[in-house]
Symmetry: C2
Amino acid sequence: MAEHADTTKCRPQLRIRRVSLDTGRENVVVISRHSSALRPDVFRGFSRVELRSGSKALLATLLITDEDSLVGRDELGLSEPAFRRFGEPAGNLITVSPAASPESLDAVRGKIQGRTLNPDEINAIIDDLTHYRYSDMEIAAFLIGSASFMTSDELVALVEAMARAGTQLKWPNPIVVDKHCIGGIPGNRTSMIVVPIVAAHGLTIPKTSSRAITSPAGTADTMEVLARVDVGVEEMKEVVAACRGCLIWGGHVNLSPADDILISVERPLSLDTREQMVASIMSKKLAAGSTHLLIDLPVGPTAKLANAADAMRLRKLFEFVGDHFGIAVEVITTDGRQPVGNGIGPVLEAADVMAVLTNDPRAPADLREKSLRLAAHLLEYDPQLRGGSGYARARELLDSGAAMNKMQAIIDAQGRSSCRADIGKLTSDIVASEDGEVSDINCLQLNRLARTAGAPIDKGAGIKLFRKIGDRIEKGQPLYRIYAFDHSELDLAVAAAEANSGYTMVNRRTPTSRTGS
Amino acid sequence: MAEHADTTKCRPQLRIRRVSLDTGRENVVVISRHSSALRPDVFRGFSRVELRSGSKALLATLLITDEDSLVGRDELGLSEPAFRRFGEPAGNLITVSPAASPESLDAVRGKIQGRTLNPDEINAIIDDLTHYRYSDMEIAAFLIGSASFMTSDELVALVEAMARAGTQLKWPNPIVVDKHCIGGIPGNRTSMIVVPIVAAHGLTIPKTSSRAITSPAGTADTMEVLARVDVGVEEMKEVVAACRGCLIWGGHVNLSPADDILISVERPLSLDTREQMVASIMSKKLAAGSTHLLIDLPVGPTAKLANAADAMRLRKLFEFVGDHFGIAVEVITTDGRQPVGNGIGPVLEAADVMAVLTNDPRAPADLREKSLRLAAHLLEYDPQLRGGSGYARARELLDSGAAMNKMQAIIDAQGRSSCRADIGKLTSDIVASEDGEVSDINCLQLNRLARTAGAPIDKGAGIKLFRKIGDRIEKGQPLYRIYAFDHSELDLAVAAAEANSGYTMVNRRTPTSRTGS
């Protein structure tokens, strides 16, 4: 290793050139095959290299090219992320040498072989990760090595290391509440109702949300229909000082950069472990300065948690980590058998939210009730409130219009959105193929259909449900309507829905007393 | 998944353009940021995409560019490996869509979660791997998932799947012998002596070897000093038909393409598991049509195996797999406490080999003895040979010049090398800092020093040892000589050697009777 590092001293220097290659999160650099700095067999295409200029160093993946227009023989082309992170101007001198792996990889290898890691090792791993010293492969090694077994001490150390790696928010208030749902349920935009209620009561609730990754909408995508959500830390603090709450995208606040990196590898691998989920959520809440946290675990056959036992195990893990860091964590399980609200896709969901906040009689009752229930839990964190009166207080704030006024104030403080907020002009109804009662709705299939229709890229694309579990329907009546902007996308979504509507019906000859949940 | 695949139908078509980007093994494609086929948020930089043209499909990693010189708006740039593997001419039409993960990844995820895989699942994984459908990250997932635990059934299925994925050689002879060393010991070019002896006796020994990956020389690099080694399957068969043996690089024979891919990920991660090692070696031997195999396991403090217990476990694993496939496997442990022979680096090692083959009195005795011992084991696979007479027969073939004649025939059949075969003109001697007896030689450090001096890129760079374990030396006498072509590389190697010569001395006041092994 030492020898490798030393050899950079005598390597020819190249001039930095900025090349417009968007390589996602990866640092990629391009070198000419005729470069004097390139020694065949030392550097291979896609091998890892270390860039150096003075005291600055960066690890990157190497591409070798014959395209003279891209880089000259005495140049090194830095792709967008590499150029930004290296922070040296174009034209400056730089050396390139084979990269040694980060030392913390020894700990990762230890973990793979079944060793337990100490907090220093975990800190070193997270530090190297956050500074882009790990390749995707090395990140995968850490994730998979940790997937099979992680002690509670390791989990706690991981949460702490991840929370310390990014922005750490401090608030002047003794009580800072937050809510989090583990996701997976279409619709379900409770945060956009809970935050205005809780802020209207006077509690501090600085909510950051994610954008859709594999779903048709994240809370940030839906809120963006109404307001700007690309808000940084300073502006976030101003909004919270003015309104007690906010509803912004977490991407500019940088609460857990390590988590963003880990997720970018977990996602394509579809790795989903309880410990990583808890570390991801709790590191962000710790960094966000939350003192009281409500976690929503939807349970249902097509939800992330299939049964109460899974939910219980996850609850214990959240509580354990919360206790360790002095965060009051309350975990509740909710009905995850079907979508919450009627809209799926940012614009349609935003319409549901505004219908609830404006007490529109056509507002989806399930979204209203679930939001009130969650708000009730959060309100009872207020020591001034009598035990058991949270729900009544939440309903009072919603019914009186106080929550809607607060939402308007938050929208004004964050700024109006510049997004297109119209609903897809192309529509098609998916109808029941027989008489019956809705017994099951497949959340995964509805998410897929809404994405096929164009959500969340087209904010107004998506699905509006006309029936929920327990509702009776006759053959030929619409189950839901698909909205799109693009003919071919509508056709694809309709074809997919006709193959699998996501709805299961039972044909009950005798009308039953069962109603929608 | 079905929806994803279908959406390709309506995607705009792009024209294939070949772009000169050497991206190693990875399929990389480049698209213009202004392309009509690019939908932001669907494709991100470095995301995985699927290319389609008619019935052809290929998975690749996407780069997005603003560089108009690289790709136009209606073009898709295919990097070298992607262009070669897709096999469609430039200008043809192609669609690009987000890639679904290979289905066999479900089995990989199962393995990560502790499930045992059946042969069909392992076959599907190896098939997808071999067809470049796995990203590096996904390959790492498989390796790490298998690293913690693999049943013997899984190992056998893996060996078989890997062997079937590439070239499978058939030989007209009932006995096809082979030898393999797990590596790690500098020098140690026994194959180049064993193959001529065994072939001179009349047994078939079609030997393929690797090039250096992390060492200063592989057998293929050293043989290349004397003969062409970039030999394909048909030519290999001709050489073996003419000479009974060959000494070629395995890279063009493609015996286990899956192994080449796995190794390219194991190496940067420094993953080293017994099961993967056995799968790697045995899949190649099975594909190579070997009937009798001798495995050399060097044991020593800086060898790959530190003690006899480790070697025993590995031996059992080789024997188990060999028995399953009907390959007669013999595993022997050898002295891995120090380099074998005096030279380290291709040209210096080739000189040792030729000194042994020509019975030069200055030839290194340890290399000669070890080669005779290995050849003796192989010769006894000949049913015509009396038990116990293998060693005598090997020595007879070596001493008589029959082995040297065979080596010349092999060199002639493979063709003369076009490589530079001179020894580095720049030299520096590393001397003993005190009187004493050599008690230890660090193989890892000598490998590093030889690489720093320029081996294997400069074939004539490396190290020549003057002392081995048990030899007495006086202060100021040379331990070894470093050879290089480049002043700065010589300086770096000397500086590194002065910091750590790799030699440990004990100062025995009384001369002892201990001699070099």
